[in-house]
Each structure stands twice: as structure tokens, then as C-alpha cells.
Amino acid sequence: MKRTTLLAGVAMALSLAGAALAQTKVGFVYVGPVGDGGWTYEHNQGRLAVEEEFGDAVETVFVENVAEGPDAERVITQMALQGADLIFTTSFGYMDPTINVAAKFPDVKFEHATGYKTADNVSTYSARFYEGRAVQGTIAGMMTESNIIGYIGSYPIPEVIRGINSAYIHAKKVNPDVEFKVVWAYTWFDPAKEADAAKVLIEQGADVVLQHTDSTAPLAAAKAAGNVIGFGQASDMAEYKPAPRVSSIIDNWAPYYIARTKAVMDGTWESAMTWDGIAPGMVEIGEITDAVPEDVKAAALDVMNAIANGDYHPFTGPLNKQDGSAWLADGEVADDGTLAGMNFYVEGLTGEIPQ
């Protein structure tokens, strides 16, 4: 009796070991808590989708709240040491740490979000959030009555500046009198700071507040003020439907994470730079609620569909830079290189980018 139990135990241990060998281990490094309701939340949804898709064939691990810098390097190294086959590092500041660790673990594949450095075993991926900003700008421009639109910027980096430009271009298109006020919060996630920024903008007359920070605090501030609308950022933030949240930009990483994990399992993974938008589904526009009139909704959906089927690029000339110098000629479309490193406002925006 005892011997059979023992044998059964050994057999089980062996089969478990066998399963473990065949398992693909995927690691995720998060800059915020998984419960932030925005950026990190959506990356974690992607992780859960990977687990759902492959079941026991994969094991996923994650570490949240990892500071950018040496701590990130240690956490990434730790994942690689403990047998991860594929590691997603989901914040811009993890760029150099990812590259450093990747050099030491040539057999492990790395995927860095929103950066620009690649290697044989390091890919980068990001989403064309500015496509979603074009839809938001259209709604914002038509909805504002004060003609003042507030914008909470996180850091003055190209990704955020692109978003401001795209939103402004499309708001201006439907409302020539529109004016943008930008507040820099210097954080990705800090509910208190974000709420303060929203309140300042609302006090300055903004009745639409756009945010490039990840918490729901600006929406809460909009709700408290009444008659102010906003948008979900990174995640749907559906709890503020139908108003103040009238729509949202959702980062949908799940299809990408599943595809890349599959590639590692199949042995077809190759280093790549992925920058996907609305068409492949990496950027989703959350439901436009009934808090906006039908014609506004229709106009917004038109912009979205035109971008999705490739008829329209949000940065199409004629466009000038803020200082009045020419940027894009009539009908000309911005190239990805310029967009990737965008460090200027388009004509009409006031204020300066902190330099």
C-alpha cells in the first residue's frame, strides 16, 4: 500500500516535472499596481488573457509597483534567472534595464513597451494612442460650450505631445474657437495630483477634461463639478458612465500578448518594432454614451472608421508647427519617425512644452 502510494507520488511528481518542462513561462513587470484601473490594469488583463488562451501550457508571473531603474533591472533579472522564456516590461523607463538584462540572457525573449531600443532578443511594442485622441478631440470640440478644453499631461514626452496635438487638431477642425489648457502632472499615476490638476483646469473654465494619466481621479473631479465631461484613459473606466465619462481609449494588449507568447511557443519569435492602432484592435474606443448628442457621436464614429479602414491619418497636412513654420503640406501625412520623436506643438496651441 505504502509502496503504491510512493510510486504514485513519484509518477505524479515526474508528470508534474514533465508538464513544467513543457510549460512556457511568461513574466510581466508593472510600473503601477494592478488595481490602478488604467495602464497597469490593462496590461494585467492582457496577462490574464494569455493564461486563458493557453491554459496549463503557460505559467505567468508578475511583479507590480516596480520603480524604473536598478529595481527594474533586478526584477527582470530575477524573472530570467527563474526560467521565464518571455518577459514583457511595460513602462518606458524600463528601456535600459531591459536592454542590459537581455544582453546577459540571450535565450530569453524580451518585449519592451513604448521604447525605442531593440536587440536580437528585444522587441518593442506600443499603440497609436493618437488615433484615439483624434476621436476624443472631435467629441471634445463639439461638446465644449466654454470653448476651453483642459488637458492633464503626464510628462512632456513625444507620446503625450502627440496626443495633445492630435486631440487639438481634431477639436479645432469641428470648433475653430477652441482653446487648450495643458497642466503637467509629472506622474503617470497619482490620484491626488491628478484630482488637483483637474480642479485647476475646471476652475479656469474647462468643461471638457482630457487626461493622459492613469487614475480615475480626474473623472471623479469632473463628476463633483457637474457639467464637465471627460474620457476613460488606458482603461474603459466604465464606472463613470454615462457621464462624466462619455467615451474612452482602451489599450487592448491581449491579442498582442497572445500572439507573441504563441510565437515563443512555436519558436517563430523574432525581434520586431510593433506600433499598432485602431485597425488591428490595439487601440479601442470605448462606448460613446448617450450623454453626447447623436450628431456628435456620428461625427466621432466617422473619424474612428476612417482611421480604422486606412482612409485617414490623424496627422494630415496642411499643418504648421506652433511657431508658424510649415510642417506638412496639403495632403501630406506625417512619417512615423517624426511622430515617434515629436517634441513640438502644432500651430494654435498656446503655452510651451517644458524643456
Partner: protein, 360 residues
């Protein structure tokens, strides 16, 4: 009835024992917390305290303990000097930032020239940056009697604005495609704070941390200034009669802690971190306050406390990825440590008496 009775003399035994009892209590109550979260408490405690030191991948984690602990020890040693004299520098985080900015700026000013003199100059720059930032609360206190706690703390937020400005403008990498952040000093040999012995984690910041421990020990035990520091903290009136000049002491204590915090920032930016970025500071200046008290404001105690703190950080990250413990649980665990330490400190000055119930 339980009664607290003040001891005539603080208990030496308890002063030594409380940190150990606090660590044990943290393990017990932390274990309970982990058990409530559905994790095996013994495994969680082992992952946090044992694995980084003796686990399968200890060869990697042991050097990391030095990397993580060095800035904590360096800053905490400086803070402890002031804390002993009742001078409260709460803004080491700001001095750490300014040291990193000035030190990195000195190095980058020479880019791409190579010279063995560049790194020593950066060290001076780092110490100067931190010292300068600490002189603001020091001089304001000496001249106008302002509260150094508030001034030094507020200057942290000013330093963070400087850090953002440095990353976005005057130290921005010209080859960084418009992204914020300086050049990576790890790729600039003359300015790189490389490991003194490869693979050990022993960079110059670790060396300086050990030197600082020794200096602080000698200063406090063998030097007149150290005696004055201790006297001022323990008996301010007696210190005045003994001819201690408070202004001089304030300038020295704040200056020294600022310079050490600045050094910690410089070694971090030129070594493990590599570059000035907007989020360069990760709270070492604040955690060092905990380390200083956990180490009883004693140089050797601080060295041990810094190691312990580094251990909980590294072990905590391992526990997150291996056991799926949430980051918040690890932070609660670290908070418990300080809480128990402060609570048990009571036993140093008081004794618990079980008094008989008195009948009326």
C-alpha cells in the same frame, strides 16, 4: 492590571534586544497576514529572508543586497549624526537628488573626453550638491530660527522639479530622440561607477558606505565633536554650559548628512541607475530615516539595519513573482517592522509590571 513603570535608567539589554524582537514579531504577524491571503506563511517568510541570502540564485542576490543597501546606509549614517543632536533632517531625498544632478552634470560636462580625474570630480560634485541643498535649511535655522524639518522636507519637492527640468532640458540626451533622460553614464567609462571587483556588487558607493560607518563610529566615540553631538541630544542645557555652539553643530550635522546623501545620489546615478531620469529617486532618502532608527542611530546598527531593509525589498520582489503576493502586502510587512520597533522601544524606558488589583 498591567502597569507601566518608568525605569530609572534606560535598559541596555532592551535597547539591544528590541530590534531583534521587532523582527521576530514582524515575522509572526507578517506570516499571519500572508496566511490570510492564502499563502503558505513559512514559505513566504523563507522567500523574503532566506532565498536572497542562501537560495538557488543567491549568487545574484547577494551582490544586489550591497547595491540596494549602500545608499540606505550612506544616507542613514549622515542622518543619525543630526538625529542624535536633535537636528532633524527629513529632506535627505532632496539632497540625494541634488547630489545626483550636480555629480552627473560634472561628468557629462566632460563628455566624451576620457580621464581618470573625471570620476573623482564627480564625487566632489555629488557631495557638494547634497551639502548645498542641506545648507538652505541649516542657514535658515541658524539665522532665522526656522524649523529644519519643514524646510528640508519642502525642498525635496523643489529638488524633484529640478530633476524633471534636468531630464527634460539641460541634461537631456541629445541622441535620445526627444525622450527625457540624460545619457547613460554606464556607457561612458570615465564617469561610470563600475564595480570595484566585478560580480560582487561592490561599487564605490558600497566602499564609501563602509568608510562612512567607520568614520561615524570614530567621530561619535573618540572625537570631541561627537561628544558634543551626543551631549546636545541628551542634555541640551548641559551642552550649552559645556560651551557647545549650537549654530556650528547645526551647520555641521545638516552639512554632513546632506553631503553623504548627495554622495549616495551620485554613486547611484553613475552606477546602478546609470542616468538622470524624471523618476530617478525611489525614496532612499525617506527609507534611510527608518534605517537610522532601526539601527538605534548607532553606526554598526545602521549597517545591519540597511542590510535588513535591503533584504526585505529584494525578498519582497521575489515573493511577488514566485508566490503572487501583492506589492501592498510587502509594504505592510515593511511597515510592521518599524511599527513593532517603535512599540517595543517602550520597553527600553519602561518596565511592565503586573500589579495586584487593589481592593477598596
Amino acid at each position: 492590571m498591567i502597569k507601566l513603570e518608568k525605569r530609572p535608567q534606560p535598559s541596555d539589554l532592551w535597547s539591544m534586544a528590541t530590534p531583534i524582537v521587532a523582527v521576530l514579531a514582524t515575522m509572526v504577524f507578517g506570516g499571519l497576514l500572508f496566511a490570510f491571503l492564502g499563502k503558505n506563511p513559512a514559505e513566504a517568510i523563507r522567500t523574503i529572508f532566506w532565498d536572497p541570502l542562501f537560495g538557488e540564485f543567491a549568487f545574484y542576490y547577494r551582490p544586489q543586497l550591497l547595491v540596494k543597501g549602500a545608499p540606505l546606509v550612506l544616507i542613514a549614517i549622515g542622518l543619525s549624526l543630526g538625529f542624535r543632536a536633535g537636528i532633524w533632517n527629513i529632506g535627505a531625498e532632496g539632497q540625494y537628488i541634488m547630489g545626483a544632478i550636480v555629480g552627473a552634470a560634472v561628468g557629462l560636462a566632460f563628455y566624451p573626453a576620457e580621464s581618470v580625474l573625471i570620476f573623482p570630480l564627480m564625487i566632489l560634485g555629488g557631495a557638494f550638491g547634497g551639502w548645498l541643498w542641506a545648507m538652505i535649511p541649516a542657514i535658515l535655522k541658524v539665522r532665522f530660527g526656522t524649523n529644519e524639518i519643514l524646510v528640508s522636507l519642502m525642498l525635496v519637492y523643489v529638488a524633484e522639479q529640478f530633476l524633471a527640468a534636468a531630464s527634460l532640458s539641460f541634461l537631456k540626451n541629445p541622441e535620445g530622440f526627444g525622450f527625457p533622460g540624460s545619457r547613460n553614464l554606464q556607457q561612458y567609462p570615465s564617469a561610470h561607477n563600475a564595480e570595484v571587483i566585478a560580480g560582487t556588487g561592490m561599487h564605490w558607493g558600497v566602499v564609501f558606505a563602509f568608510i562612512a560607518v567607520i568614520f561615524a563610529y570614530v567621530l561619535l566615540n573618540r572625537h570631541m565633536l561627537g561628544f558634543q553631538i551626543r551631549l546636545t541630544g541628551e542634555a541640551p542645557r548641559a551642552a550649552r554650559f559645556a560651551g557647545v555652539k549650537p549654530a556650528r553643530l547645526i551647520l555641521f550635522c545638516l552639512g554632513a548628512s546632506g553631503a553623504l546623501a548627495g554622495l549616495a545620489g551620485l554613486f547611484e546615478v553613475s552606477g546602478p541607475a546609470g542616468q538622470i531620469t524624471i523618476d530617478f529617486n525611489v525614496g532612499y532618502g525617506f527609507t534611510a530615516i527608518i534605517v537610522a532608527f532601526l539601527g538605534r542611530l548607532h553606526p554598526v546598527g545602521i549597517l545591519l539595519a540597511g542590510g535588513l531593509m535591503a533584504l526585505t525589498y529584494i525578498g519582497g520582489d521575489i515573493a511577488q513573482s514566485n508566490l503572487g503576493l501583492p506589492a501592498a502586502a510587502i509594504q505592510v510587512f515593511q511597515g510592521m517592522l518599524l511599527f513593532f520597533l517603535l512599540a517595543l522601544d517602550l520597553l527600553t524606558n519602561y518596565r511592565i509590571r503586573l500589579a495586584k488589583r487593589e481592593t477598596a
